[in-house]
């Protein structure tokens, strides 16, 4: 952030972005629920060129026992990148960045999950980034919501994720990798459309108060679009007759 030197044209004279999108357009998002055999729930999401696999296990016993809570279930999240998911091979051990994102996603999902329904147990959400292209945390969060629902975990709402941001002095929706690297700000958002609550919010980069407002506005729009795709994925899994891949 903060405008690294680059030759890339992030926004042309017609308001078209480097990947052909308009400023308020998301990348193509496809989600498929129930893709893993062993997991209690799962989802595979492609969010632009991001490719993320999410598996959910639980509610299940907690070891060691003293980590469990007699009043409530606990949610545990792990966001992890495959070594081959990024440009230069990544060390497989979890980085501090992955530890932080895991925590932020956990706290974005907690408002949506009815944890009190399964006291003493844990639900584990494992997000595996197979290919990364900017905006992985929003994509992982989006997929995790679908995987939780697929696992039959009681939920108040789905959480949909989409980033807003700023590049070439314009407020844009769904920041891709080039815009993240060469742009001015990245504001990932997680949103519960029915409950109208933002549960994930971070910011890298500089925004005026006015731009900040616009980013939140446009980001919520993006989340609402993503939400429709989440619902469709769950319907396809539960109601569609077949079309198994």
């Amino acid at each position: 952030m903060g405008g690294r030197d680059t030759d890339i044209v992030l926004l042309d004279e017609n308001g078209i972005r480097c990947d052909g999108r308009k400023v308020n357009e998301t990348r193509k998002v496809t989600i498929k629920a129930g893709v893993l055999k062993n997991a209690n729930g799962s989802a595979y999401i492609e969010f632009g060129d991001n490719k993320i696999l999410v598996g959910v296990y639980g509610p299940r016993d907690v070891h060691p026992k003293h980590m469990s809570d007699t009043d409530t279930g606990i949610l545990r999240c792990r966001y992890h990148m495959a070594p081959f998911s990024v440009g230069e091979r990544k060390n497989p051990a979890p980085s501090r960045r992955e530890v932080e994102i895991s925590k932020v996603i956990k706290e974005a999902l907690e408002p949506a999950v009815m944890l009190k329904e399964f006291p003493r147990t844990a639900v584990d959400v494992f997000m595996e980034v197979l290919q990364a292209d900017g905006g992985t945390r929003c994509a992982a969060l989006t997929g995790a919501s679908v995987a939780l629902a697929d696992a039959g975990i009681p939920m108040r709402d789905l959480v949909a994720g989409c980033a807003a941001g700023k590049a070439a002095d314009a407020v844009i929706l769904d920041v891709n990798n080039e815009e993240d690297q060469a742009g001015q700000a990245d504001l990932p958002i997680g949103y519960m459309p029915n409950l109208k609550k933002i549960t994930l919010l971070q910011l890298d980069g500089v925004l005026t108060p006015e731009e900040y407002k616009q980013c939140i506005e446009i980001g919520i729009d993006g989340c609402n679009q993503v939400y429709e795709i989440q619902k469709k994925a769950l319907q396809d899994k539960f109601f569609a007759s077949g079309e198994k891949q």
Binding site: K103, V104, E107, K197, L203, V206, P209
Partner: protein
């Protein structure tokens, strides 16, 4: 989201009852931070240092400045790394050993607030392009924990970096050599200041104490710069915020942040 802090039910009810009346346990307004005291130069051997006391929360930040070999793709900029650790003296719940997720988050949020603001003009911290750059390391040590470590680390870091001295180096045989006794001012462009707000029920309060921290439903840390722009942000906790709340929080952050910024500025002047 309590990050391991346990507050008893009685205390919780007391706090909630007062909030309904528009009051806080320690008598502050909702948008009023605790008293902030900043002393700079507390670690004279470090190139910069500051002790920030925010109520009963206390952080010591020390800045080390030393030449570093740059990463291959950023050879035209200096390096800046901020860290934070909660010393075991700070609270009975503090743990030694590898940092747990809340401490990793604290360190990364502290770092991001400084870094994303562009506080230091990193291009001025190059000794020889691609060969040697100046590294600025600002390490925060939490010595007493009464809640809201995010802001205490933000203030200590900004004050320590703002008041640091950059030693002079000369390149000799491709290696940087320190010129004893010569220093320059750090290339400061702006003073980033974070303000953390806790949401308890539907009330939002600035600069939560450890008890408010322990019972809050959600929190948000918003960092603004000298121009009143927003430069970093971190939501936490097990609940969400409405769109309106977030707009309001940003306004509060900019407003409170400008008061804090004056205290940080004065800490440097009172030292001179």
């Amino acid at each position: 989201m309590s990050d391991g802090l346990i507050i008893d039910q009685l205390k919780k009810n007391q706090i909630l009852d007062l909030l309904k009346e528009g009051k806080r346990v320690d008598g502050r307004q909702f948008d009023e931070p605790r008293k902030l005291t900043i002393d700079i130069g507390v670690i004279p051997k470090a190139e910069g240092s500051a002790r920030a006391r925010l109520g009963d929360t206390e952080v010591v930040a020390g800045v080390k400045v030393q030449p570093e070999r740059p990463f291959p793709d950023t050879g035209d900029k200096g390096m800046l790394i901020c860290t934070a650790e909660i010393l075991p003296i700070a609270h009975p719940s503090a743990e030694t050993g590898p940092p747990q997720p809340p401490v990793v988050e604290l360190a990364r949020v502290t770092d991001r607030g400084i870094r994303e603001s562009g506080m230091l003009d990193m291009k001025q911290l190059v000794l020889e392009k691609d060969k040697s750059v100046i590294g600025v390391f600002c390490d925060n040590a939490v010595t007493d924990h009464d809640g809201n470590l995010f802001d205490a680390c933000s203030y200590a870091s900004t004050a320590a970096i703002n008041s640091c001295k950059i030693p002079k180096y000369e390149m000799q045989d491709d290696a940087p050599v320190k010129i004893e006794g010569e220093f320059t001012e750090p290339p400061i462009t702006t003073l980033p200041v974070s303000v953390t707000m806790a949401k308890i029920d539907d009330y939002i309060v600035v600069d939560p104490t450890i008890e408010e921290w322990g019972i809050m439903d959600a929190r948000i840390t918003i960092t603004s710069n000298s121009d009143g722009n927003v430069v970093a942000l971190q939501k936490g906790g097990s609940d969400g915020f409405t769109q309106e709340e977030l707009i309001k929080c940003a306004e509060t952050s900019v407003k409170v942040g400008s008061q804090i910024r004056e205290i940080i500025k004065q800490s440097k002047q009172s030292d001179n």
